[in-house]
Point group: C2
Chain length 321, copies 2
């Protein structure tokens, strides 16, 4: 085993020693701190060394790995899907909220609050198998385009974060998503886009059930919410599904505060990171007053807790792939 | 990458080619079928080849990986813990069921049905942090002994199954537990005993919450059930937490039927396996009439579905480590 490990390490070292692991990060303090942390936990001779099995890194998705403005992309999917469903069968639009959503009238849907949102999600995210739902998401990603950038949604991922994910995995970290987004929605693209396999995608979830449908064993998406993976739900989900306290954690809003707080309070070296959307020119600038991705406590308390606040405008040389 | 992979494969091959991977399995049809299946999905040139990422194997725990008679070991833990708690503070025994459980009177507890069981579990499995709970389980395993065998409970694991788990992992399978047992209870020993890390332990779960307790960020075990990982709940949990349909699945009771049915209905090669407790001499013989681990449908329909029924008495040369 020693010879095998040594041999693998040798090839790895030769293959990557020269390259900058984070080429889309400027040479600012952010990049220095990330690399210093990773070095500290992977140096087998250091007191800060962390065994590969405990190198757990978790990341929020919306606003951390991909965009979230002007509204969560999953909700745009829901409205698009509702419009498609209504074109087939207009009778499904049984309320003003559903009619507004199918017409793309975000304002009316937003005015209906959480209940309105849930109604749209229920109609578009239940009554089909998990497999069929994921196929719907994949098909949507092929054709849907973001209203302002014109890009495919799965092309609106942050290049510096893709590099960070790869860098961590090269250093034997397991990289997880821990997001308020739906688990089945995210699994439709997480492996292709982020290199994160289904078993490392943790998210909010609707209820599901197992049934044999016309002789075919099937997991079905049902109406109703099983779990909201946001705020205090994030440490709960990480404990439930991973069972280890991450040593590296990245988010962008106060919905990630509890996860950052819990992870960075563990023993040994810990790295907390908040993506601050400061770049109105290349992306969108928002924080304290935003209706999505609101960030107040993280900005106020994060630096004092030792968390890195990433300034997108200053720290990233490039935003998109 | 190719050179590295090739080099690793070379060392692996040299290291393991000669050894029997399942020495505690007799040379019966069961062993032949298991090895033939594993060969078929790992032969890169075969049409039955399965990529390592999809080599997901799931196993029930109670009665499949370790014993479950005369009663689920976790319930013995609950009764022992209740007795310890009552020795400190007798006032916690607020009902007849709790008094009976603390006195080790299984008959009275059993007569109180599911409600009685839940009462005992609630008192003994909530009101403390996940970390503290897992420490309690570890401490219990150190000293508690099985009523008939006199063995430590974590020494009542099936040696042939330990070998099967190792064999599958050597062949790049991910091995998961998917059990009706509690996830935090099982994590206290799954890595040491089975080599299965926390993130690959799926089980039933009590409610948990995230709170900052006296300044310490903590995940707490609360009263109430969050999820029962049994029967139709097993495919639901596998979909929720792994997001892939396993290709190898092992169980021992009708609580595993849905999981076996769903997994083996997937495309491509699939292996379903039921451990049949036939060995009254070395373990316990039970199936159709048992109050625990009842097995009827699996025996009736399993062979017709191509599932392997493992006959413990005939197929295993050795039961315990």
């Amino acid at each position: 085993m020693f010879i095998r490990t040594f041999c693998c390490s040798l090839f790895l070292t030769i293959g990557t020693a020269a390259a900058d692991p984070l080429p889309s990060w400027n040479d600012t303090d952010a990049k220095t701190r990330i690399i210093a942390f990773v070095d500290s936990v992977t140096d087998a001779g250091a007191s800060t060394y962390v065994t590969p099995a405990d190198r757990i890194a978790v990341f929020d998705n919306d606003g951390t790995l991909w965009g979230e403005q002007p509204v969560y992309f999953q909700f745009i999917f829901a409205m698009d899907r509702l419009a498609d469903m209504a074109a087939e069968n207009p009778a499904i639009l049984t309320s003003d909220v559903l009619k507004a959503a199918a017409a793309g009238d975000l304002k009316t849907v937003a005015a209906a609050g959480e209940e309105g949102l849930l109604e749209v999600v229920t109609v578009t995210h239940s009554g089909l198998s998990v497999d069929a739902f994921e196929a719907e998401v994949s098909a949507w990603l092929e054709t849907a385009r973001h209203p302002t950038s014109g890009r495919a949604y799965d092309d609106m991922v942050y290049q510096p974060m893709l590099e960070l994910l790869s860098y961590l995995r090269d250093k034997d970290f397991d990289t997880y998503i821990v997001s308020g987004g739906g688990v089945h929605f995210m699994r439709a693209f997480a492996e292709d886009v982020y290199g994160i396999p289904p078993e490392q995608v943790i998210g909010s979830a609707g209820k599901t059930s197992y049934q044999v449908v016309d002789g075919v064993p099937t997991v079905l998406k049902d109406p109703g919410i099983a779990f909201i993976d946001d705020k205090e739900g994030k440490p709960v989900a990480i404990d439930s599904k991973i069972g280890k306290r991450p040593i590296f954690v990245g988010g962008n809003s106060d919905g990630d505060f509890a996860m950052l707080e819990w992870a960075t309070a563990g023993d040994g070296p810990r790295f907390g990171m908040i993506i601050h959307h400061t770049d109105a020119e290349r992306e969108v600038a928002y924080d304290r007053e935003s209706h999505i991705g609101k960030l107040v406590r993280g900005l106020d308390e994060g630096p004092g807790r030792g968390w890195l606040i990433v300034d997108m405008a200053d720290d990233w040389s490039r935003i998109w792939p």
